[in-house]
C-alpha cells in the first residue's frame, strides 16, 4: 500500500477521520498506515464492489433517453453484461438483511401510475390478515370518491389470491379520485372493509372542457380589467383550444409530413400505458374455491392508438373507431393466442386521401403450471 507511504501524517489522519475509524489519533505513521491498509482489505472482502462494466452507459441517463448515438457492438456487449448483473442483484434485493420484510402497520396505499393503472399495496396487521383470509371472498374493492357525505360508488371488486400484498388495478380513466379497500363478504353478500387506502391522484388521459376560462395577472389575486381585456383577445372557444393543442404537440405545419410528431402526440398525450410490463390479474377470473391454495392466471389485451387529421374516418380491423376533436383515436382489442392482424385505415375528411397501416401481433402463452 505505497499509496499511503507517500502521504503526510496529517493527510493520513484526515483519511482515518473520513473513513470513520476510531483510536487513530495517537498512532505513529507506520501504525496508522497498517490500520488504513487493514481497513482497505476489509472493505475489499466485505463489499467486493464490482465496477460496473458499463462505464459509459452507467452514467445517470436522462429520462428522455440519451441522444442519438450510434452504439458500437462493444458498447452493446457492455450493456448486456450490465443487464445480467442487474438481474442477478434484483432478485437478491427484495428483502434487506436489517430491514423487516413487512411492518404490519395496517397501511394501505393507492398510487396512480398513469391514467389507466393504479397500484395498490398493503401491509396488514396479524389481526387484519387473519380476518381477511378467513372471511368469505377476500377482495380488493375500488371505490370512486364522490365528495363529502356522498356514498362512495363501487367501481370494481377484485377477488384476491391468499397472500397477495399488492395489485395493479386497471381503470377506464384515473381522472377522478379513487379509494381502495380490502375486505370480505358479509352474510348478505355486502362488502365488509378491513382497511382503506388514501385517495389516488387524478390523471386524466383526455383533454378537459374549454369552459370556465378566467385570466389573472400574476401576483394579483383578483381578476383585473386589464386581464379580462387580454382574455377577450383570444377566443375562448373549443376550436381555439383544439388548435393550440395540436400546435403544442408540435404539428406546426398541419398534420402532413410530421409523422414523428404525431406518434409522439399519441404516445405522450393519449396513452400512458406499457401494458406488457404489468402483471396485474385484475381482469382475470379467480379459480373455483376448491382448487389449490395458490393460483395464477394470466391474460393479455392489445391497445392500438394513433392520431390523424381531425374529422378523418378511421377503421381498425374494419371497425370504425371514434376520432376525437384533436384527431386522436384508440381501440382495445382482445389478443388470443396466435397471430393477430390489425389493419388500420384512415380517410381524410374530404375523402381525397387515404392511408393504411398494419400491425401484426403474435401471442404465445405458456399457461401456468
Amino acid at each position: 500500500m505505497d499509496k499511503f507511504e507517500n502521504k503526510k501524517l496529517s493527510e493520513l489522519l484526515e483519511l482515518a477521520r473520513e473513513w470513520g475509524l476510531s483510536g487513530y489519533s495517537k498512532l505513529k505513521k507506520t501504525e496508522l498506515i497498517r490500520l488504513l491498509t487493514r481497513k482497505v482489505s476489509q472493505l475489499a472482502v466485505k463489499s467486493p464492489r464490482k465496477a460496473s462494466p458499463a462505464a459509459p452507459a452507467s452514467k445517470k441517463v436522462s429520462p428522455k433517453t440519451n441522444p442519438a448515438r450510434p452504439t458500437s457492438s462493444k458498447v452493446a456487449e457492455r450493456k448486456a453484461a450490465a443487464r445480467k448483473t442487474a438481474a442477478a442483484h434484483h432478485k437478491a434485493a427484495a428483502v434487506g438483511k436489517r430491514l423487516p420484510e413487512a411492518y404490519q402497520d395496517g397501511r394501505m396505499t393507492l398510487l396512480t401510475r398513469d391514467p389507466f393503472w393504479l397500484y395498490c399495496y398493503w401491509d396488514l396487521t396479524d389481526e387484519q390478515q387473519e380476518k381477511l383470509w378467513s372471511g368469505d371472498n377476500p377482495s380488493l374493492r375500488l371505490v370512486e370518491d364522490t365528495g363529502a357525505g356522498a356514498p362512495a360508488r363501487e367501481v370494481k371488486r377484485i377477488p384476491l389470491a391468499r397472500g397477495a400484498r399488492s395489485w395493479y388495478i386497471q381503470v377506464d380513466a384515473a381522472d377522478r379520485p379513487y379509494r381502495a379497500e380490502l375486505g370480505h363478504s358479509g352474510p348478505g353478500g355486502e362488502f365488509l372493509p378491513l382497511a382503506a387506502s388514501n385517495l389516488s391522484n387524478r390523471a386524466p388521459a383526455t383533454v378537459a372542457s374549454s369552459g370556465g376560462v378566467e385570466f389573472v395577472l400574476p401576483g394579483k389575486a383578483q381578476k383585473t380589467a386589464a386581464a379580462a381585456a387580454a382574455a377577450s383577445s383570444v377566443e375562448a372557444t373549443r376550436e381555439q383550444a383544439d388548435r393550440m393543442f395540436v400546435l403544442s404537440a408540435g404539428a406546426r405545419r398541419g398534420f402532413a409530413g410530421s409523422g414523428e410528431a404525431l406518434s409522439e402526440l399519441a404516445e405522450r398525450l393519449q396513452r400512458g400505458l406499457a401494458s406488457e410490463q404489468l402483471h396485474s390479474g385484475a381482469q382475470a377470473q379467480p379459480p373455483a374455491q376448491e382448487q389449490a391454495d395458490y393460483w395464477l392466471v394470466v391474460d393479455a389485451e392489445l391497445i392500438v392508438y394513433g392520431a390523424t387529421v381531425p374529422g378523418s374516418r378511421v377503421t381498425i380491423r374494419n371497425m370504425p373507431v371514434e376520432v376525437d376533436g384533436s384527431g386522436r383515436f384508440w381501440a382495445r382489442l382482445a389478443l388470443p393466442d396466435g397471430t393477430l392482424n390489425v389493419p388500420i385505415h384512415g380517410r381524410s375528411p374530404d375523402g381525397r386521401f387515404e392511408r393504411q397501416a398494419r400491425i401484426e401481433a403474435r401471442r404465445a402463452t405458456e399457461p401456468p403450471r
Binding site: E18, W19, G20, L43, A51, S52, A55, S58, K59, K60, S62, P63, K64, P67, A68, R69, P70, S72, S73, K74, A82, A86, H89, H90, A93, G96, K97, L99, P100, T109, L111, T112, R113, D114, Y121, N201, R202, A203, A208, E214, F215, V216, L217, P218, A221, A230, S233, V234, M244, L247, S248, G250, R252, A261, E264, E267, R268, R271, G272, A274
Partner: protein
C-alpha cells in the same frame, strides 16, 4: 414586422448525492467529476464569455440541493482536484505519446488545454462553482431554480404532504444557504406534478415551475394558448410547459442534432482503446476499464467504424445547427402568431444540463451560438422565467393533474415491477419520521442529532434516481444498495430514538458519511 417570441432554456443540473469517504476512489463519484469538467465548468465559462462579449442573454439553470451539497463539500472538492490533476497528467502523456502524429497530436493538445483551462477556472474561484453561478444570477443572466431536497419524485409521496413539505423546506433552506437568496422557482423532480402540489409549493414561497406539455394541455379548463404562454393554478403557482418541438430537435433519436456524424463520439474513449500499461492508473484499481474523458473520434456513422475527430468541422456544424434552431423558432413563432391574440409566443426548452458538454461535447458551443443569435434577432429573445413574468402577462387559471416528463408521461418509470418493492419500505420510513417529529417537538443534544440524521436518511432514500436506475437497468446494484443503506440507517435510528438509547459513535460516523444538509431540521416533517 414579424411576430415576436421568447425562448426560455432550462438546464437541469442534477446528480444524486454520491459521497463515499470510506473508499479512496469510488466509481460513482466520477459522475460528479465528469460533470464538473465536461459540463458545469464549460457552461460557466460559456456564460462568462458571452457576458464579456456583451451578449444579452437569459436562461434558467436548476442546481438541485444534492448537487449544491456535493459542489460545496470539501472532501469532494479535494478529490475533484486530484481527479483533474490526474486527467491533466494523462493528457500530457498523450501529447508525448502522439508526438509526430499530425492527426492525433492536435487532439491530444486540445484535451490538455481544455483540462488545464478547467483547472485554472476551478482554482480561480477556489472551487466555489456555486458562487460563480450566483454571480451570473446577480448579473441578471441566469435564474437559478431549486428542486426537491433529494430529487424525490413527489407524486409518489403525495399521500404524505408532510414529507413533501420536508423535501421543499430543506431545499429552500439549502438554496438560501449556498446561493444567498430564496428561490422563487422550482424544478419539480422529473417534472412530477399532481393536483395539490401547488398549495404546498406556495407555502414555501415557490411560485413558478415547469411541467411537461401534456401536464398543461390536460389541465382544466383547457389552456387557450397551449404551451406557448404560462398559466397559473388557483393557488397561484405559475406553470411553464415544455415545448415538444424544440425539445425534439435536440433530444430526438431521429432528428436530434447531437447524433450528427461531425460531432465527437461519446463511446470511443482511450480508457477502452489503449493498452492497459498506458491507461492503467486512470481506470479502475481492479483493472476494469472505464472512460477517461479523452475521446479522439467523431460519430462518423451508424457503424462501429469511427474516423478521427475534427474540431473545426464540429464547431462549424454546431454553428449551423444553432442557426437552424433559431430559424425554426422564428418560423414557429410566426405560425403561432395569428392564434395568440396579439401576445408574444413563449417557447420553453428544458434539457438535462449534462447533455451539454458531457453527452453532446459541442453542446455548450451550440448553446452559446443560439443565445448570441437570439440577442441579434430583432424578433426573438432569450428569457428566464422571472424576466418573462416581469412584463406581467395575463395568465389563464387552470388546474393541472398528474404528469411527468418520464417515458409515457406519468409515474411508470418510478413505479414498475423493477422498483415497486421499495415503496412499502419508503412509505413506512416516511410515516415513522413524521410520527417521530410530532412526538419530539423540541429536542436538544444527541436525540436531536439522531432525529436530524434520521431525517437525512429518509430524504436520501426518497431520491428518484434510485428507482430510475433500477428501471433502466444501469448500476442497479448500487441503487439497491443505496436505498437499503438509507432505509436501514433510518430504521435503526428510529429504534434508538424510540427506545431512548442513542448509539453515539455510530451516529457520529453516520453524520460524517451522509453529511449533506448541515442545517436540516427534523421538525420539517411535523
Amino acid at each position: 414586422m414579424s411576430a415576436r417570441g421568447s425562448v426560455s432554456f432550462v438546464l437541469h443540473a442534477h446528480l444524486p448525492f454520491v459521497r463515499h469517504p470510506e473508499h479512496e476512489r469510488f466509481l460513482e463519484e466520477d459522475w460528479l467529476f465528469e460533470a464538473i469538467t465536461e459540463c458545469y465548468l464549460p457552461l460557466l465559462m460559456t456564460f462568462e464569455d458571452l457576458l464579456q462579449r456583451g451578449v444579452r442573454f437569459r436562461l434558467n439553470l436548476v442546481l438541485t440541493p444534492t448537487l449544491l451539497s456535493m459542489l460545496s463539500d470539501p472532501l469532494l472538492q479535494g478529490r475533484y482536484r486530484r481527479h483533474l490533476e490526474g486527467l491533466i497528467e494523462l493528457a500530457d502523456r498523450e501529447v508525448r505519446r502522439t508526438r509526430g502524429d499530425p492527426c492525433l497530436q492536435p487532439l491530444a493538445r486540445m484535451y490538455r488545454d481544455r483540462f488545464r483551462g478547467a483547472w485554472d477556472r476551478y482554482q480561480a474561484c477556489g472551487g466555489d462553482l456555486i458562487g460563480s453561478f450566483a454571480e451570473l444570477e446577480r448579473q441578471g443572466c441566469l435564474e437559478i431554480l431549486t428542486s426537491a431536497a433529494t430529487h424525490a419524485f413527489l407524486p409518489l409521496l403525495s399521500p404524505w404532504p408532510e414529507a413533501v413539505r420536508a423535501q421543499l423546506r430543506c431545499a429552500v433552506r439549502t438554496h438560501r444557504r449556498l446561493l444567498g437568496r430564496s428561490p422563487r422557482a422550482i424544478w419539480l423532480p422529473e417534472c412530477g406534478m399532481y393536483q395539490d402540489l401547488d398549495r404546498l409549493l406556495g407555502e414555501q414561497g415557490l411560485t413558478t415551475t415547469v411541467i411537461d406539455a401534456h401536464g398543461l394541455l390536460h389541465a382544466t379548463p383547457r389552456p387557450l394558448l397551449g404551451v406557448f404562454a404560462p398559466a397559473i393554478t388557483p393557488a397561484g403557482l405559475v406553470l411553464f410547459a415544455r415545448d415538444l418541438e424544440s425539445s425534439r430537435q435536440v433530444w430526438s433519436a431521429r432528428e436530434g442534432y447531437p447524433g450528427h456524424p461531425d460531432y465527437r463520439d461519446f463511446y470511443r474513449d482511450i480508457g477502452w482503446d489503449l493498452p492497459l500499461n498506458m491507461v492503467g492508473p486512470w481506470i479502475q484499481p481492479t483493472g476494469e476499464r472505464k472512460a477517461t474523458g479523452i475521446k479522439y473520434h467523431r460519430i462518423t456513422g451508424p457503424t462501429p467504424h469511427k474516423e478521427l475527430y475534427q474540431p473545426a468541422l464540429a464547431s462549424r456544424r454546431a454553428a449551423l445547427h444553432a442557426a437552424h434552431f433559431v430559424s425554426e423558432r422564428r418560423e414557429q413563432v410566426n405560425t403561432l402568431a395569428p392564434h395568440l391574440g396579439g401576445r408574444d409566443a413563449l417557447i420553453v426548452a428544458p434539457f438535462d444540463a449534462e447533455l451539454f458538454g458531457h453527452w453532446w461535447h459541442e453542446g455548450p458551443l451550440f448553446l452559446a451560438e443560439v443565445l448570441r443569435l437570439l440577442d441579434l434577432a430583432p424578433d426573438l429573445e432569450s428569457a428566464s422565467f422571472a424576466s418573462f413574468l416581469r412584463a406581467s402577462p395575463p395568465l389563464q387559471v387552470v388546474t393541472p393533474y398528474l404528469s411527468s416528463w418520464g417515458q409515457h408521461g406519468y409515474c411508470g418509470v418510478w413505479l414498475d415491477p423493477s422498483n415497486e418493492w421499495i415503496y412499502n419500505h419508503l412509505h413506512h420510513a416516511t410515516e415513522r419520521m413524521i410520527k417521530l417529529a410530532r412526538a419530539h417537538p423540541d429536542e436538544k443534544g444527541w436525540t436531536r442529532r439522531a432525529l436530524d440524521q434520521c431525517a437525512r436518511e429518509v430524504l436520501l432514500a426518497q431520491s428518484s434516481d434510485f428507482p430510475f436506475m433500477m428501471k433502466m437497468g444501469t448500476t442497479v446494484d448500487y441503487a439497491v444498495r443505496r436505498v437499503r443503506e438509507h432505509l436501514e440507517a433510518a430504521h435503526e435510528l428510529a429504534q434508538q430514538i424510540e427506545s431512548g438509547r442513542i448509539r453515539r459513535r455510530a451516529l457520529a460516523s453516520l453524520e460524517r458519511r451522509h453529511n449533506l444538509f448541515p442545517d436540516i431540521d427534523y421538525r420539517d416533517f411535523a
